[in-house]
């Protein structure tokens, strides 16, 4: 019977304080949900990509060299720290002889190779005559195992049969060229054939152009990479580290970005939840003072009373955690991962949950729900039942600082005096509320800033930096003279895009993108971080700010540039330009030739007066994209982050509402008796409302102001956490602050409206019947 009575009491208490319990529940569920949800993104990408790399035995770096000899390979293998070195041939622009002439990247590999294997999803091992085909490509082009496929390499045809469909870890993010941002499985994929099959396209001799290198554990990658120069000499094109592979780089960037989001934002959610839960649980237990006395007097054991009160926190906390762990991965995780799965290919589908972080978050929640109710009940346990039961003297009023200024004090209305004294008496709760509100306002500002950051990148690139209509990728045979002879009607700018290896004086080396174009550059408008135009220097190079930062160089420094057919050439960094995404270097075609390269345009930028469709369909070009397509592809590429920012805006908004609601209700509950007393005296509604509402409004406004620096800090942290490819400048614009303030104030107004109704419905007789 005894047990039953306590359980009934629990249910009654929970009903009575349901709004408080509900808000704690929502906050706990949000904090856990957001934290685990965002974590799921990066832990899933991380786990899947790492497993993928391991299963396919991905190389630590690749050496691109023209026709490396067996001796070269032997020398690489004999470097201490090199575990394995294998050769292969890759060509990026083969075409499949099927509808649409899609592009294939061909890997021609010796059958004994073990590095960079493709992961076969269906079919059998590669034979001498067959081919392993990109599964996504096959699906998009309705090809399956057993189908014949003819590819065209070096203008020669190679007939194969599809023996297996597979995934490749090097192509985890499969984009065709530098102009594309979105994988296009119908238009681009990879194919693996035996080295013997490719020979026919190259005059019967087996060609090689890559050495794949796997290092032993703990080997000094930089040192080993630097030895490639002496081994390959003039044959060396570049050395590409695993992390510079576009797919690996992309996966890493997503991991870095979401790890940063999953740290910064949940931290705010937990902080706010902890603060609000703390003040609410304290208050609820304090309210139960008399009840605890009664239970003690009735002879309930200390243990059962403690458990009775702790159980409130346990139930609410557990319920929140449970809903959070279900909601986080299944809703947030699934939603955002689905956007990333459009971009990346993984062999497995399942989600990987960050268990340790979840347990950490759950223990924080439990500490602040169960822990606080346990402790505040324990505190009351030490008082004698008689003490607890004694009619509690009215809470002591106290004079406050302001009263020392009679000029101010004596001219205040009673409601203002009372509000001031109440505020001073409940300093702790008010400070906690203000911090809660500031956390929410900061969170909303931060989430808006994240939205601006990601939407700013394509805007900067495709609205300010570039002004072409179309970017045309030229066929490798097309010369600049041929283009000039075409007399295209519009503004035309040709450019060469490739990658070069740079080495700093300190020995830091990096394969980076290089863009070469004329100094006039009518269609590419380089800018510095402040938005001022930058023209290319006549001699020397311009480097993007982030790259300079990563390579630890500045204007005036000299870096060694690896030329395609010779050794290094020292170039001076003359200018720093700002690019929000895609870091690299820029130089004029004149300087490019001066350092000994040929200017061979790879792309043509065109702003048409009259679009020349003949040209766009001619053999001069391999493909073309519109600037608007590039922009929307870029946006698609970042859609998971857009989703995240929207999610955070929404959940920050929900949190703000819960915090404000909870604050309003606590404040109201503390004032009920005063309000009833005044109502009996004959005060009208509008005269007593300020007692509760003023405090709410002031706390909200102060909270919003304190939220601004929090939001700015969040924005700065996020901007810095996008990875090496991105150089983002966090700007919290006044309109974002206004939006956050408007959201928060709107909720404050709604809460005040609810409180107003509650004030109106106070039953003054009931309120005054008992003593507290």
């Amino acid at each position: 019977m005894v047990k039953g009575a306590l359980i009934k009491k629990s249910i009654q208490d929970m009903k009575k304080n349901r709004s408080q319990f509900l808000s704690i529940f929502i906050m706990a569920a949000l904090a856990i949900g957001i934290s685990v949800g965002l974590d799921t993104i990066w832990t899933t990408i991380d786990a899947h990509s790492q497993n993928f790399y391991q299963d396919t035995n991905i190389s630590d770096f690749w050496v691109a060299a023209s026709n490396p000899s067996e001796l070269n390979l032997w020398r690489v293998r004999n470097i201490k720290g090199v575990q394995k070195a294998e050769k292969r041939f890759t060509v990026n622009n083969a075409t499949a002889r099927i509808d649409g002439k899609p592009i294939l990247r061909v890997y021609a590999v010796p059958s004994e190779n073990t590095l960079d294997m493709s992961l076969i999803m269906s079919g059998k091992k590669l034979s001498k005559h067959g081919a392993i085909l990109d599964r996504s490509f096959a699906q998009a082009n309705h090809l399956s195992v057993g189908d014949p496929l003819t590819i065209e390499v070096n203008d020669k045809r190679i007939d194969t049969t599809i023996e297996a469909l597979a995934l490749s870890s090097e192509n985890i993010y499969a984009v065709k060229d530098t102009a594309s941002m979105m994988p296009d499985p119908k238009g681009y994929g990879f194919i693996v054939i035996d080295e013997d099959r490719i020979a026919s396209a190259y005059g019967g001799r087996k060609p090689y152009n890559q050495i794949e290198v796997r290092l032993a554990q703990g080997a000094d990658a930089a040192e080993i990479q630097s030895r490639m120069d002496s081994i390959f000499g003039k044959k060396l094109n570049f050395v590409m580290a695993q992390t510079d592979n576009r797919g690996v780089n992309f996966a890493n960037a997503k991991v870095i970005q979401f790890r940063s989001f999953a740290t910064v934002f949940p931290f705010m959610f937990f902080l706010v939840t902890a603060l609000i839960t703390f003040s609410t649980m304290m208050r609820l237990t304090e309210d139960q003072r008399n009840q605890i006395g009664i239970l003690k007097a009735l002879g309930y054991s200390k243990k059962s009373i403690l458990w009775h009160y702790t159980s409130y926190g346990v139930f609410v906390g557990m319920a929140g955690i449970l809903v959070g762990i279900l909601f986080g991965p299944n809703v947030i995780g699934r939603l955002l991962l689905s956007k990333i799965k459009n971009l990346m290919t993984f062999p497995v589908e399942d989600m990987v949950i960050n268990i340790s972080k979840f347990l950490f978050g759950a223990s924080i929640i439990m500490t602040f729900t169960a822990g606080i109710s346990f402790l505040s009940c324990l505190k009351l346990q030490n008082e004698a039942p008689a003490e607890l039961l004694r009619t509690k003297m009215p809470k002591k009023g106290r004079h406050i600082f302001l009263e020392h200024f009679p000029h101010v004090w004596n001219h205040m209305k009673f409601s203002q005096k009372l509000t001031a004294r109440n505020a001073m008496r409940n300093k702790f709760r008010i400070v906690v509320s203000i911090l809660g509100v500031s956390g929410c306002a900061g969170l909303i500002i931060g989430a808006l800033a994240l939205f601006d950051l990601v939407s700013g990148i394509p805007k900067t690139l495709y609205e300010k930096t570039y002004s072409y209509d179309q970017k045309v990728i030229l066929d490798s045979d097309t010369t600049d003279r041929a283009i000039r002879n075409l007399n295209l009607d519009g503004i035309v700018q040709d450019m060469e895009e490739s990658s070069v290896q740079l080495t700093t004086q300190e020995g830091l080396r990096k394969v980076t993108a290089v863009s070469v174009f004329s100094k006039e550059s009518p269609l590419i408008h380089l800018k510095d971080a402040e938005g001022n135009s930058v023209t290319l220097p006549d001699t020397g190079i311009a480097m993007t700010r982030k790259l300079a930062e990563l390579m630890n160089v500045e204007v005036g420094d000299i870096v060694n540039l690896k030329r395609s057919s010779d050794t290094y050439y020292p170039v001076t960094i003359m200018k720093i330009v700002y690019m929000p995404s895609a870091q690299g270097i820029y130089m004029t075609d004149g300087y490019w030739q001066e350092i000994g390269e040929n200017f061979r345009p790879t792309a043509l930028l065109v702003q048409w007066n009259k679009k020349d469709n003949d040209f766009l369909n001619s053999g001069y070009i391999t493909s073309y994209t519109d600037r608007t397509t590039q922009k929307s592809d870029f946006e698609g590429n970042l859609s998971a982050i857009f989703g995240t920012s929207l999610l955070l805006i929404v959940s920050g908004t929900v949190l703000a509402f819960v915090v404000l609601y909870n604050m309003g209700m606590l404040n109201f509950a503390e004032r009920v008796r005063d309000l009833a007393t005044l109502e009996v005296l004959g005060f009208h509604q509008k005269e007593i409302r300020p007692l509760v509402l003023t405090e709410n409004i002031v706390s909200t406004v102060v909270g919003i102001f304190l939220g601004i620096p929090i939001g700015k800090y969040l924005a700065g942290t996020i901007a810095g956490g996008f990875g090496d490819d991105f150089d983002l400048i966090s700007r919290v614009t006044p309109d974002r602050i206004l939006i956050a303030a408007a959201i928060t104030l709107t909720f404050a107004a709604i809460v005040n409206h609810i409180v107003r109704k509650k004030i109106k419905s106070i039953d003054m007789l009931q309120a005054l019947k008992s003593v507290e």
């Binding site: 009215p394 005096k417 009372l418 109440n422 008796r673 005063d674 005044l678 005296l681 004959g682 007789l765």
Partner: protein, 233 residues
């Protein structure tokens, strides 16, 4: 027509499916500037009657006329105005605002009344002139009740309603408080209604209303009520 008039007043409470008649068919009238006591056992309906008279509750049936105005049909706003202008309330548990000093609690009246009495002066009259700046928490129950009386009277109301004003006090203190109410009310010419289940108090009343089970069992008028000092508790 009397100053206060109850005519067939009923008050029902609906609790779940059942209807509780707290007050049934109550009729009585009280004179202006009279001192009246309502007696009865617990649950008899005394508080309910007082609350309806004070404009804190409305009857479900019947009419309550105060100074010629029927207050039983007033809305919330008008009832508030009625309380504000005409009624002073004293409760068993004082109901002072804990965060206002004694003086400020009394000054509350000044904020809302047309012609309030001076707060400091009222505190002097209840004998608490030197406790003006104390907070309720720093005063004894009797002192708090006196502040509450000062507050009720500072509004300069026509009617002073007291619901068991001595209920939480010892008999000596209770007597002082009652005498205070009686004396001040007489000096100021207020109509007073005191609810109690302490029969001896009735001896100092002009009119005594006995209630039982929500009904009036007896109304007794006294020509010469006894002074408080003579009453044996």
């Amino acid at each position: 027509m009397s100053f206060i008039q109850f005519e067939g007043v009923e008050r029902e409470y609906i609790v779940g499916d059942s209807v509780i008649k707290a007050v049934k068919e109550v009729s009585f009238s009280l004179e202006d500037k009279s001192f009246n006591v309502v007696l009865g056992q617990s649950g008899a309906g005394k508080t309910t009657v007082l609350n309806m008279l004070g404009g804190m509750d409305s009857p479900t049936k019947g009419a309550i006329t105060v100074n010629g105005e029927d207050i039983s049909k007033l809305g919330t706003r008008e009832l508030t105005t009625y309380r504000r202008d005409k009624i002073g309330f004293v409760f068993q548990f004082y109901n002072l605002v804990p965060n206002l000093t004694a003086l400020e609690n009394v000054q509350l009246a000044e904020e809302i009344c047309k012609n309030p009495l001076d707060a400091a002066e009222m505190l002097e009259r209840v004998g608490l002139g030197d406790r003006k700046n104390n907070f309720p928490g720093q005063m004894s129950g009797g002192e708090q009740q006196r502040v509450s009386i000062a507050r009720a009277l500072a509004k300069n109301p026509q009617i002073l309603l007291c619901d068991e004003p001595t209920g939480a006090l010892d008999s000596g203190t209770g007597r002082i408080v009652l005498k205070l109410i009686r004396d001040i009310a007489r000096d100021m010419g207020k109509t007073v209604v005191v609810v109690t289940h302490n029969a001896p108090i009735a001896e100092m009343a002009d009119t005594v209303i006995h209630m039982r089970d929500g009904q009036i069992s007896e109304i007794r008028h006294t020509e010469h009520p006894r002074p408080v000092e003579e009453i044996v508790w």
